[in-house]
């Protein structure tokens, strides 16, 4: 992954910063700068999510792409945040620990390291709350 591509969304990834539509009240993560409901009538502002949520569904990845190969097996989940938004994220726990409905909270973690001297990518993961 290119450095600028990651850097552009760094604040979003590090601090779970998304957006909020003041017109209809919906929250967005990943951030959207157009509200799909209100479109041009929407008023989009930045919003930092509290980071509390629960697991809606999950899987344990055993065959990964190269970037993630060293981390297998790992838990990937769709987490529903308290604000009502869902996102895909790592859950840092043993594969047998995760279940649907499990309460989780955000943590700041290393996501991937591009070899020993390459770029280290940080971002948000979740841990059991």
């Amino acid at each position: 992954m290119s450095v600028p591509r990651y850097w552009r969304k760094q604040q979003n990834r590090y601090r779970l910063k998304g957006t909020h539509c003041e017109t209809c009240g919906k929250y967005f993560f990943p951030p959207r700068n157009l509200c799909p409901t209100c479109r041009r009538d929407g008023k989009i502002v930045d919003y930092e999510f509290k980071g509390d949520g629960k697991v809606r569904t999950f899987s344990i990845i055993r065959t990964a792409s190269e970037d993630y190969d060293l981390q297998t097996p790992f838990v990937i989940a769709i987490v529903e945040l308290e604000e009502g938004t869902c996102l895909t994220a790592h859950v840092v726990c043993a594969p047998e620990e995760v279940y649907i409905g499990m309460p989780v909270k955000k943590v700041f973690r290393k996501i991937i390291a591009d070899g020993e001297s390459g770029v280290i990518v940080y971002g948000t993961k979740f841990v059991p709350a």
Binding site: S59, I61, S65, E66, Q71, I76, A77, L87, T88
Partner: protein, 386 residues
Amino acid sequence: MREVAIVGIGVTEFGEKWETSFRNLFVEAGAKALEDANMGGDQIDEMFVGNMSAGRFVLQEHIGALIADYAGLVGNHIPATRTEAACASGGLAFRQAYTTVASGLNDIVIAGGVEKMTDVGGSETTDALAGAADREWEGLVGATFPGLYAMIATDYMNRYGLTREQLAMVSVKNHANGAKNPIAQYKKEITVEDVLRSTLVADPLRLLDCSPVTDGAAAVILCPMEMAREFTDTPIKVLASTQACDTISLHDRRDFSTLDATVAAGKRAFAQARLTPKDIGMVEVHDCFTIAELCAIEDIGFCAKGEAGKLTEDGQTALGGSIPVNTSGGLKSCGHPVGATGIKQVAEIVAQLRGEAGARQVDAEIGMTHNVGGTGATVVTNILGV
């Protein structure tokens, strides 16, 4: 709108084709389709070719012209266009060809699809396929493509009480069909135990729940119904060809276990053809993973939500059942060269409706295809009839 017919089909053998190049794969399928339609390449007015990721798999873009060139179609300088919607790229090519003929813009149009996936290594393939979903917010956080469908399976099993064995039965049934298909990548029968013993890829999905990595190409030729008998005694009518889209990411869906784009495309297809699911005699659905076949059966409307596992267990989706599903062997056993799949599905229905499907032959007058891009962000459905 004019009535449209399919007058020629051609599909290569699917599998790991070390010896065949990207362009030669397509040329083989195209030549077969032309031969089947008893026509020469100079009669073709336009061409659409579905391809997901030649840029990643063989480092080649500009597929439309390349394919037309090597297929010997540049003499008349016809328009040649590549279509892309991940695994539904072939479906898009078919629908573009259909609308071109139906609208009267052109008469004889070839719709093809091709993918050469085995020239790169396994993890590179996995990474390229992750581009079918949201690279930025699914792929970059570690979700593989099988992992996303695995999350659908986890949700579905939890809500509808589907058993692991029922899921395996989808694959067992598709391998039984593929064993009867000369072009299939895996022409071998398997058992439920084989599936349950195969390696875990992304829980609960195992290797034998997944469609494989495949090289292959397919092509079909469309023309106005009123011209069709110049080329064949058995033209097959296109009764509907529809497409729908949805959110790119699985996490943004209304319901993880329902593909709303399938529901929408299906409804449009039944409305266009003035038919209902009960009128359909057989269907080729997009079983990129076993769970996807069950969702498709329900979302098109062949049974209520949560009942497709039971339908499969009861043998209703097998060759002799009430609604045979994936007589070709599906993506699972026939193979899944992503860009070619949507066209291969059409070719299978045409072969069946003509009565040319050999050991897989079912008795049907109307068939349907269902081709999905990503985890359901694009869906193309077609209804074909004699």
